[in-house]
């Protein structure tokens, strides 16, 4: 078995719009949504709302949360938990920034995609 990197390099931070997001396509699995907040922090979540599987990457990012485009649940970017009155959680993927490159945790991507 070949050893593969623990972290996946997905691109430059600048490729993600501020207060916006991009996706990483995972073969045979749900996409990973990668968000960049107004403060410049980057987070990654499974691109799948805990409510009815809305694409979180298409939501409005505000503060440390994203509003799902389908029914407006607010999901925390740090914990993946639904905020406010709603209950549910979407898996998070650890992110590391190295020299302007965005790296996401390979094991978590695999787990989330499973």
């Amino acid at each position: 078995m070949t050893t593969v990197a623990e972290w996946l390099d997905i691109g430059w931070v600048d490729q993600i719009p501020v207060r916006g997001s991009r996706t990483v396509q995972v073969a045979d699995g749900d996409d990973i949504a990668v968000f960049r907040t107004a403060e410049g922090k980057v987070f990654a979540l499974l691109d799948r709302c805990p409510h009815k599987h809305g694409r979180l990457s298409q939501g409005i990012v505000h503060g440390g949360a994203v509003a799902c485009p389908l029914h407006n649940w607010r999901i925390s970017l740090t914990t993946g938990e639904a905020l406010g009155e709603d209950k549910g959680c979407t898996p998070t993927v650890p992110v590391k920034i190295d020299g302007g490159r965005v790296l996401i945790c390979r094991a978590s991507v695999l787990k989330a995609a499973a």
């Binding site: 390099d9 997905i10 719009p17 990973i32 298409q58 409005i60 407006n72 009155e85 995609a113």
Partner: protein, 825 residues
């Protein structure tokens, strides 16, 4: 089940134990706390595994309008803050009156000084074969709703047995959730205990129009199925297939505990005027009691009972004297109200008003010049007024001639002024039936600082439940606060204390140019707003600064960002513009090609006279648009708060009735107005004659051509609350029609609140205001028109074309692709 010891050691206060964590039980405790928060140590036992919630709101939860959290009355913090011990999910199974102890199923034993029984009712299950099959349920608590929701997810058919309030609300919810619903009702008319035959018939028509099947005079013989429910058989042999059966045929006071404990029980647990049972240490309240020979099945009486009960508990007895009840049906778009006795009789007189065109039926029953009953269908605004007169037994002889036209008319003027009507209500008139709040209570909570609808909802709960009294509460706010409230009782969102109108005014006054600037200058409480305020601010700036403001894409809802409609599976639909509903072979060919090339699973003629291509992948959108652009087609903005369609009919060119070229005018209007962003979506139609085939009178702006010119109509919409347009004016030429249209659009663009369509906007500002701006002030109208055309000079480039050329490609393509085993793309 295990519980930590409940008795706090050093608490020497008298111990009040409550059985039943429902509406009456908790309300009684609230009333007690309001009188004396420290007098009793309180423990509440509830059979349901959850906190106290508003049972009547289960219907909106089922219908999808609310979530469980929206209907919680007292959350866990409330119990904690008031030192109340809650044992939830463990019903009390025995009361030992000698030892003054209760025991739960889980084995918890608790001693009491005073015991309050508030066990509510049990749903009545008709004893037919098959009643115990899985899939047969009642409609009483959250567990029932959860079961219905699970069943509805699979689709299929449901049978609701019982056409009363509860059954109809269940049927409505299930049918909104996509089930095919049949209601079986034993009696000849629906809700026969609340409605007379005429109203029951209107109701049946309305529900059938919504796709439900209603069988009256339907007597259930058996529920059939192997291992689970499969259908319902009637005595006449009819078999109705069903995957779910909801029994909503009535309720019975839940008295088993009390009876086993030897308390006096008739139909319910018998209580005196202070809600004390035959044992002086045991009280009872709510649907489980019988007072003065009466049992109740609605919430309003509970509020009165709870007040008397709490008065008694703090030794200031007042005494409950029974309640008169009124009923409303919480099915959106169907307004039904009834109160008192309408069975009539020789000594009664009926006053009836029917307006078939508007679907209105009103009946007031009088006896000796007093109102004894009222049934309202279609227009229930005066329900609280009749109910108030009924409860007070007021002599209505002086009002008799005008009584049926409602309060506004009866109190003079003939003009329906909702504020005057509310002002005339007495202080103890009930405003919010769901929470038992009177006018006096609402006014005093406004006076104490609740200056917005939300604040009122938060402090006295009026309008916090079904919301049907929201209009009344708003009128009370306006009356009590005068101009203060006009300046914006509703804040734009939770991030600011400013209302929409304030924000718009300040943007212009302080010449603000960006969202962060607005948030800074107006003291936003969040760093970068929320999904409500950001789109609103983006629009306000864009409207105020045409050509200068740079649109903030991240403040737009996904549809407007991607210029297509997101679908529930994450794909998008694409609707190209078809000017005035016209098309040609090139366009049709291009659409056909796109459908094939991108494997679109569906293409459909829309209600807006064009073609909708469904199931396009986000990545493919730019290519699809490029192909459509090549055939000369542009975005139809079917996704935006923007000009949508201009519907037309064939008009004078072909139609034997046509008076003007409605198609041509429609195309001209669409060419003028396409691409403009609006506070909400905006639809236009042009009909060639008053037969009105283009349905111009339910559009935001509608033109109806007549021999002598063009009637211009404004403020209509379809949707949940259909509103027909108001006639603005008549003009003689096409050019005038275009000019007025532009001026009207701009007035709406500049002054309506974000997400307020023209219909509610006009209802708010009044048609007279719109007329004053557009008809009485020609110079002002011309200026509005000019501002519209100026702003259009910046917005009429096709967003699709830009994307097809590669702009904002990052919105469409993934940032990276990852295939396990492989290295990254």
């Amino acid at each position: 089940m295990e519980h930590s010891p409940l008795s706090p050691d050093a608490d020497t206060r008298e111990h009040l134990v409550v059985i039943g964590n429902g509406m009456a039980g908790c309300r009684a405790v609230e009333e007690l706390l309001a009188r004396d928060a420290n007098r009793y140590r309180v423990t509440i036992f509830g059979a349901e595994p959850r906190v106290n919630y508003n049972r009547i709101m289960l219907s909106p939860v089922l219908a999808g309008d609310k979530s469980f959290d929206d209907i919680v009355i007292n959350d866990a913090d409330w119990y904690a803050a008031n030192g109340i011990a809650l044992v939830a999910g463990d019903p009390v199974v025995a009361i030992d009156r000698g030892a003054k102890k209760v025991t739960t199923r889980g084995g918890v034993t608790e001693a009491y000084d005073r015991l309050l029984i508030a066990t509510g009712s049990d749903p009545f299950i008709i004893p037919v074969p098959g009643k115990d099959l899985p899939g047969v349920i009642s409609f009483r608590d959250m567990d029932d709703v959860d079961m219905m929701l699970t069943a509805a997810e699979k689709g299929g058919s449901a049978v609701v047995i019982g056409g009363g309030l509860l059954g109809l609300e269940a049927a409505h919810g299930l049918s909104l959730r996509g089930m095919k619903v049949t209601v079986l009702h034993l009696m000849p008319t629906l809700m026969e205990r609340q409605l007379d035959e005429a109203a029951g018939w209107l109701l049946k028509q309305a529900l059938e129009a919504r796709g439900q099947t209603i069988l009256t005079g339907a007597d259930t013989e058996a529920i059939v199925g192997e291992g689970k429910v499969e259908g319902v058989r009637l005595k006449d042999g009819t078999l109705i297939p069903a995957d779910l059966v909801v029994m909503a045929v009535g309720i019975r006071p839940s008295v088993a505990l009390a009876r086993d404990a030897g308390l006096a029980v008739g139909r319910g647990i018998q209580v005196d005027d202070h809600m004390v049972t035959s044992d002086p240490n045991i009280l009872a309240v709510g649907e489980c009691v019988e007072h003065d020979g009466q049992v109740y099945g609605l919430v309003a009486p509970l509020w009165d009972m709870c007040r008397s009960l709490a008065d008694g508990l703090v030794e200031q007895p007042s005494g409950y004297r029974g309640s008169v009840t009124s009923t409303k049906l919480k099915v959106s778009g169907i307004d039904v109200f009834s109160a008192g006795d309408f069975s009539g009789g020789d000594d009664c007189e009926d006053i009836v008003l029917r307006d078939a065109a508007r679907g209105i039926y009103k009946r007031v029953v009088l006896k000796d010049d007093r109102i004894v009953g009222a049934v309202l269908y279609g227009d229930t605004a005066d329900g609280s007024w009749y109910f108030d007169l009924l409860k007070k037994q007021e002599d209505v002889a002086p009002l008799r001639d005008v009584l049926i036209f409602g309060q506004a008319f009866a109190s003079g003027g003939g003009q329906a002024d909702p504020k005057a009507a509310v002002a005339a209500l007495s202080d103890d008139a009930e405003i919010c039936g769901c929470n038992g709040v009177t006018k006096g209570q609402v006014v005093s909570c406004i006076a104490k600082g609740a200056h917005s609808l939300d604040a009122v909802r938060g402090s006295c709960k009026a309008s916090a439940s079904c919301g049907s009294c929201t209009g009344l509460v708003e009128s009370l706010l306006a009356l009590t606060l005068g101009d203060e409230v006009q300046s914006g009782p509703k804040t734009l969102c939770g991030c600011t204390s400013f209302g929409h109108d304030d924000v718009r005014r300040e943007i212009v006054a302080q010449d603000m140019r960006s969202i962060p600037e607005v948030m800074q200058k107006l003291h936003w409480t969040t760093p970068d707003g929320c999904s409500s305020c950001r789109p609103a601010l983006n629009y306000y700036l864009l409207c105020a600064l045409p050509g200068e403001y740079e649109d903030d894409q991240q403040s737009r809802f996904v549809n407007e960002r991607l210029h297509a409609n997101i679908q529930k599976d994450g794909t998008y639909s694409v609707v190209p513009r078809m000017w005035g509903g016209l098309t040609n072979p090139t366009e049709l060919r291009a659409i056909a090609d796109v459908v094939e090339k991108y494997n679109a699973p569906m293409v459909k003629v829309t209600g807006g006279q064009r073609l909708d291509i469904f199931g396009i992948k986000k990545e493919d959108l730019p290519a699809v648009w490029a192909d459509l652009n090549a055939a000369g087609m542009v975005s139809g903005h079917a996704y935006g708060k923007a000009l949508r369609t201009v519907k037309t009919c064939v008009g004078s060119e072909w139609c034997r009735f046509g008076t003007q070229d409605s198609t041509g005018l429609g195309v001209k209007i669409e060419r003028m107005s396409w691409g403009s962003w609006m506070p909400h979506k905006f639809k236009i139609a042009v009909s060639g004659c008053p037969r009105n085939c283009a349905e111009a009178t339910i559009k935001d702006f509608g033109v109806v051509c007549v021999d002598s010119g063009y009637e211009l109509h404004v403020g209509g919409n379809g949707g949940i609350h259909v509103r027909a347009t108001d006639l603005l004016c008549k003009v003689a030429t096409e050019q005038e029609a275009l000019d007025y249209c532009a001026a009207f659009i701009q007035l709406y663009r500049e002054e309506a609140r974000y997400l307020e369509r023209t219909a509610p906007w006009i209802e708010r500002v009044g048609l007279d205001y719109v007329k004053a701006r557009l008809l009485d002030d020609p110079a002002g109208r011309e200026a509005l028109r000019a501002r519209f055309l100026y702003s259009q000079s910046f917005s009429q480039d096709d967003p699709w074309a830009q994307r097809a050329e590669g702009a904002a490609a990052e919105h469409h393509a993934p940032m990276a692709r990852f295939t396990p085993q492989e290295e990254l793309a």
